[in-house]
Structure formats: C-alpha cells, structure tokens
C-alpha cells in the first residue's frame, strides 16, 4: 500500500538528546577548495573540543551525491548534529526534511531558497547562516574605488551564474560603484564558475580585448582571483591594476603582505571556513542538547548574517592571528564560551529573511 517515504518515519523529534548519542556531520561541496578544507578543519576542532565523533561528507559538487550521502548517514539511526554547505539552494528542503525525519539537527550555510525559513520547518532546522553577499561586494567595490581614486575601468568575474552567493556579491559591488563611484566604469562581467583556470583564461581574453584600459579586477572569490592575478602578471600589467575579492585565502594574505605586484590586492572581505562550520555545528549542537530551543529564538538568530570584515593592506595585520596553527582550536574555545552568535570576528550583525538586493 501507499505509505510515506524517503528514509525512516517522520518523527520531527524535539527534546534534548544525550551527548553520547550524538554524531557531528559536516557536509562540504568538495575537498579541493581551501574554503571547504577550512570547513573540515573547524568541524574537527569542534569535534575534539566537544569530544563527539565527526563524519565528513564530500558532495563532489553534486546535489544528488550530497543528498544521498546525508541520507546514508541518517539511515544508520545516528542522532546527527549537522552542518551543510549546500551545493545548491534547492537542496535545502530535502536535506532539512531528511534530518527532521531522523530526529537530528541541522544548520545550513550559504544557500537556501528565499521562502524556506527555519521557523516554518520546525526545530530540527536550527538555523540558516551566511555572510551577506551584498556587503561583501560593497566592501570590495570601496577598496577598488578608493585605490583607483574614483576613476577607471573595472572587469568582474562572478562565480557560477545561478549562484545566489555570487549574485548577491555582484549586486553589492555594482550598487556601491553606481552609488559612490560614478566615474568608475564596469567594462564587462565574465562568469568564471568559481574556477581559477577559467578566470585565468577569461582574464587573458579580456586583457586582449581591453589592454591597459583595465584598472581594476573584481572576483567573486579568491580562487578565481588567483587565476586572474597570474594572467595579469603574465601580461606584465600587474603593477598598474588593482584587485579585490572575497575570502582572503591564506595565499591572498601572503600576497597582500608581500605587496605583490605593487600592492595589487587592495581589498578583501574576510571569512574563514572553520568559523562557519564551527558556528553552524555548535548552533545545531546547542539545540540538540536542549541548550537552546530554536522556536523560542528571535528570527534573526535563525536566519542570520554574520559580520563582514573589509580587509585592506593596512588592516591585514589584525587578521594574522586567524591563520595560525591553533587558530581553529582557539576560535572553537571562544565559541563555546561566548555562544554561536557573538564570537569575534564572526559576530551576528542582523538578518532575518532573504538578503535585500540594492535597487539598480
């Protein structure tokens, strides 16, 4: 006969779970990008701190793989505390549903449908968390705009075209330029799919197209920026072009510090993958052990934007401490002390609901 399906019976359990029964699960999009590797690092640090076993899921860039691997873990009857860096927004409802049926707790990072809110889905979907893309884009735009003295031409490398993360950053960057740097012209956008190699190629083509008209380059993440930097270096243009991007990978830190290419990198927004995973997991963990009751939280604590730090070469020194060997462990120590929303440098700055895109 017809029954309800997809992995176990629907429980939607609430009520605290004993710590011994818990498993931490961190799901990342791949294990080859520094950001996702940092995700794993943070999860490991928290696992050690809380003394709870950890499982890592590698989605291999595929929604289907992500979902089925998550279900595979849930099916083993474990009570999970989960952090998912979703491959696509549309994966979120399915994952949340599966976790709910298995009586686990999940925090989602970066991508979810705009109309799918934690408070509508019950306590098992503890929180949705991200760094606001619009703010990040604005940060970068300011850095480039100021470095160019408010005049010049810029090219942009968005990520995958249908990615919200990329789209919000693009929107923020464009809005800031439009509003505050009217003399800076955006020459062209070439979606480079978060792929350093493609950004490298696209850079070469745009250099061929615009030559030394290009004064600034923006990339939606540091991976693509590394590809772009190399292309401009090869073309001998590095010294006269300014770069800004999101992520501040440790490699970027090094380049900024060295003053690479006549201080080519002028602005970065800072976040660390280990912070995201640790915050996400810890939020879910608190809900699991009954420390917090999600339904009693204010909405902005369940759909949250974390602080965007705009890093410039001058302020770079302040961030060195987040890349030491013990940085993840230190952060986790602070996190457990101050709670998910108030740990420097990733403090909650507000939110609730989808990001509002600036009007164009």
């Amino acid at each position: 006969g017809c029954t309800s399906t997809a992995g176990g019976t629907a429980t939607g359990s609430s009520g605290p779970i004993a710590k011994e029964d818990l498993v931490l699960v961190a799901s990342v999009i791949n294990t080859t990008n520094p950001y996702f590797i940092a995700n794993i690092e943070g999860a490991k640090a928290l696992s050690k701190k809380l003394d709870i076993p950890l499982e890592i899921i590698d989605s291999q860039g595929s929604s289907q793989t992500e979902i089925s691997k998550i279900q595979a873990i849930l099916a083993q009857g474990k009570k999970v505390v989960m952090f998912v860096n979703t491959v696509a927004s549309s994966d979120t409802p399915t994952i949340v549903d599966a976790v709910k049926r298995a009586g686990g707790y999940v925090s989602i990072w970066w991508n979810k449908p705009d109309n799918f809110e934690p408070w509508d889905a019950g306590d098992n979907f503890v929180a949705f968390q991200k760094h606001a893309g619009v703010d990040s884009g604005r940060c970068n735009a300011k850095a480039i705009g100021d470095a160019l003295g408010g005049k010049g031409n810029v090219i942009m490398f968005p990520g995958v075209e249908d990615s919200t993360t990329s789209a919000t950053r693009v929107a923020g960057f464009e809005a800031e330029m439009r509003e505050n740097y009217p003399d800076i012209k955006i020459l062209e956008k070439q979606a480079s799919n978060w792929d350093p190699q493609l950004a490298n190629q696209n850079s070469k083509d745009l250099i061929a197209k615009y030559g030394d008209q290009i004064n600034g380059v923006w990339s939606a993440d540091d991976g693509m920026q590394l590809g772009a930097l190399q292309a401009f270096d090869d073309a001998g243009l590095l010294n006269s072009v300014k770069f800004a991007s999101d992520g501040l990978y440790p490699d970027t830190v090094k380049l900024m510090k060295e003053g690479y290419g006549n201080n080519a990198i002028v602005g970065e927004t800072f976040h660390r993958g280990y912070m995201a995973s640790a915050i996400g997991l810890y939020t879910a963990y608190q809900a699991a052990i009954g420390e917090i009751v999600p339904s009693e939280l204010p909405k902005d604590k369940r759909d949250s934007f974390f602080d965007i730090k705009c890093v410039t070469p001058e302020t770079l020194g302040d961030y060195a401490k987040y890349d030491t060997d013990t940085a993840a462990a230190d952060f986790v120590d602070n996190l457990v002390e101050t709670g998910p929303w108030d740990t420097e440098p990733a403090t909650l700055v507000g939110g609730g609901g989808p990001e509002v895109l600036p009007k164009s």
Partner: protein, 368 residues
C-alpha cells in the same frame, strides 16, 4: 545415376564452353586492355584521393577564415599580435592533450580521463617541485615522477581496456575519478601549493621567437605526434586497428601492445598538459584540467577524425582546437554574454558537422 546423365553432360558442355571463353578473356585481358585501363583508372584515383585528402581540412580552413574575418570586423583588437599570442597560449594545452586524444580516437576508442590525469600529474609535480608548502624539491625528478604517475594511469587504462575488454568509455570515465581522487589525496588539507621557482612562473605565456613557450611545446608535441602516426609502427597499427581490429589480429599484428601504448601516450600528454596548466596557473589544484576535455573531444570531432576510428589525423585536430579557441576568444572579444557562449559554441559545432556531412548524405549511409 542413369537418369542424371543427360544433365551432367549438359553441365560439362557448359563447363567446357566457359573454359574456352575464359581463355579468350584471359588473353584479351593479359594483352592490351588491362594496362591502359588500369593506368587511366589509377591516375583518376590518385587525383580523387589527393583532392579528398585536402577537401575536409580545406573546409575547416575556410570556416576558420570566416570566423577570423567576422571577429576582426567585430573588434579591431582581435587581429593584434598580442591577442593572437594569447590565442596560441590558450590553445597550447588543449593541443598537447588533443594529440593524444586523436590517437585514442583513431583507435576507435575514447579517453575521458584527461582531466583526472591532468590533476594527478599536476599535483604530483608541484608538490615535488619548489612550492610554497615546502617539502621536497626534486627538480627534474619531479617531472619524471609526475609523468610516471600519468604513465601508470595510462597503462592501467590500456590494460583494463584490452585485457578485461571493458569499453574505453567506462575505463577512462573511471580513471577520471581515480586521477581526481589521487590529486585530492595528494592535495590533502593543506594550503594551496604555489610555485616558488621564479624562472618557471609565467613561463608558459612568455614569448620566445615570436611565439609563447607553451605553444612551442605544443608544436613539438604535434610534430612528434604526426611523426608517430605517419612513420612508426605504433601509429600505423593504430590506424589499422581503427579500420578493423579483427584483421589486425588475424594478421598477427601487436594489437594489444599498441592499444596499451596509445593509452599510455595519451595519458603522458595529458600529464604534460597538467604540468603546464599548473605552471600557467602558478598554483597546484586537483581540478587544474577542468574544461579541457570539452575542448579536446569536440576539437577532434570537428577536425573530422571519425569517432569510429581509422580515419582522421592530427593536423585536422589542430585546426579543430584553433577553431574552438578562436571561437571562445572571439565571442568574448565581441562581447557575447557568458550565458550564451555555450549555446553559440554548441550551435557552431552542430552547424559544422552538419555542413561537413551534408554532401556525403546517402540513404544507405549509417550514422552512429
């Protein structure tokens, strides 16, 4: 027996008659007719063959010329020396990989493992060279070991394909993941390895004697590839296998060894491409080869090498790579939005193959 005697005698009458006739024919054919007839036919055949050998590349060249013409009208920077050098740099790695892919396709097989092999080789190479993670700097040995990794993957593909008779499509698809897996495991969880050797940084796009270094490498590989295909046993047997493996076997030719060798060569060239891509990007990444497969295979096909094997060549593939690289570059230079680029490329691919096939359409033709 008796009842049949009349019949048998008629048969032998016929036989004798036919015998006589044949003598006549044989004499006629032996003298006079044959040699002139053969000579006339032969000269016709040669002319046709020479023309046919040129016709397809010619239409490709025309297509290339048209593209170049259109793009140079759309953007005057298209035809500048710096952009042409840029196009050559971008085509170098696909060219190197495509030489191997052409050999594999001439066998009638396919190699999908390109990106995996590139990742594994590039990662091995950079981790054993001077890089930002420190570790061993083995100098030239890094090249040897990295290409050794590629060779092992290629030989493994070849052996599984030939000995276990698994279709190359699946073997190399699996090897794609395996190569990616090797790269991922080598990469571990540490920082991105960056190239430290200042001499190598940017080497691929540096210009020597008017052309980018990586393009010189590609030229060398193309030259070697053409030589192998034209004038070595491996090359000729590759073509023979593509034509008919049954015949190759019954002729006692080393089908097994040649197939393994071709997969090994292809993997080595992918590996070389992986190292150059790593140099080009200056960073080690398991996905350093991303997107290369989807330039290389269409390039081979557009070049007119048959996926069934046996027909085609490396120079045509070179034209195919140029066509796609120029297309890619030209679309960006003429300001086509990135969303539409895959559609334009796809449409041109379809148009190219339809155009090429149109004249040869025949109701009895089998298109797979």
């Amino acid at each position: 027996m008796a009842g049949n005697s009349r019949i048998t005698s008629t048969r032998s009458v016929y036989a004798r008659r036919i015998f006589m006739v044949h003598k006549v024919v044989a004499e006629q054919v032996a003298g006079g007719i044959s040699t002139t007839a053969i000579r006339i036919r032969e000269s016709g055949i040669e002319r046709r063959a020479r023309f046919r050998g040129l016709a397809e590349p010619l239409s490709l060249l025309v297509a290339l010329a048209v593209l170049i013409g259109v793009f140079s009208l759309l953007n005057e920077r298209f035809l500048t020396a710096s952009n042409l050098q840029n196009v050559l740099t971008q085509s170098a790695i696909p060219l190197i990989v495509a030489v191997g892919a052409t050999l594999v396709i001439l066998l009638g097989s396919i190699d999908l493992s390109v990106e995996g092999v590139m990742g594994a080789t590039g990662m091995t190479w950079i981790l054993l060279s001077a890089n930002s993670r420190g570790g061993a700097d083995l100098g030239p040995w890094a090249w040897v070991i990295a290409l050794g990794v590629a060779l092992v993957i290629g030989v493994a593909s070849g052996l599984i394909f030939t000995a276990l008779k698994v279709p190359s499509f699946i073997v190399t698809l699996g090897m794609w993941y395996v190569g990616l897996g090797i790269a991922t495991m080598l990469y571990g969880t540490d920082l991105l390895p960056r190239l430290e050797d200042e001499g190598l940084k940017g080497w691929t796009s540096r210009i020597s004697f008017g052309l980018p270094n990586s393009f010189w490498v590609a030229l060398l590989v193309i030259g070697l590839g053409i030589f192998v295909l034209r004038s070595t046993r491996i090359g000729r047997v590759t073509l023979a296998i593509g034509n008919s493996e049954t015949i190759v076997r019954s002729a006692g030719l080393p089908a097994f060894r040649v197939k393994v060798a071709v997969f090994a060569i292809a993997a080595l060239l992918s590996g070389l491409g992986g190292i150059l891509a790593t140099v080009q990007l200056d960073i080690g990444s398991p996905t350093v080869g991303s997107g290369v497969l989807f330039i290389v295979i269409p390039a081979v096909v557009i070049g007119g090498t048959h996926l069934g094997g046996g027909k085609g060549g490396i120079l045509r593939t070179v034209l195919g790579v140029f066509l796609l690289t120029i297309l890619n570059n030209g679309l960006i230079l003429s300001g086509v939005e990135s969303s539409y680029q895959s559609a334009v490329t796809g449409a041109i691919l379809v148009a190219a193959i339809v155009f090429a096939a149109w004249s040869q359409r025949d109701r009895l033709q089998v298109a797979k």
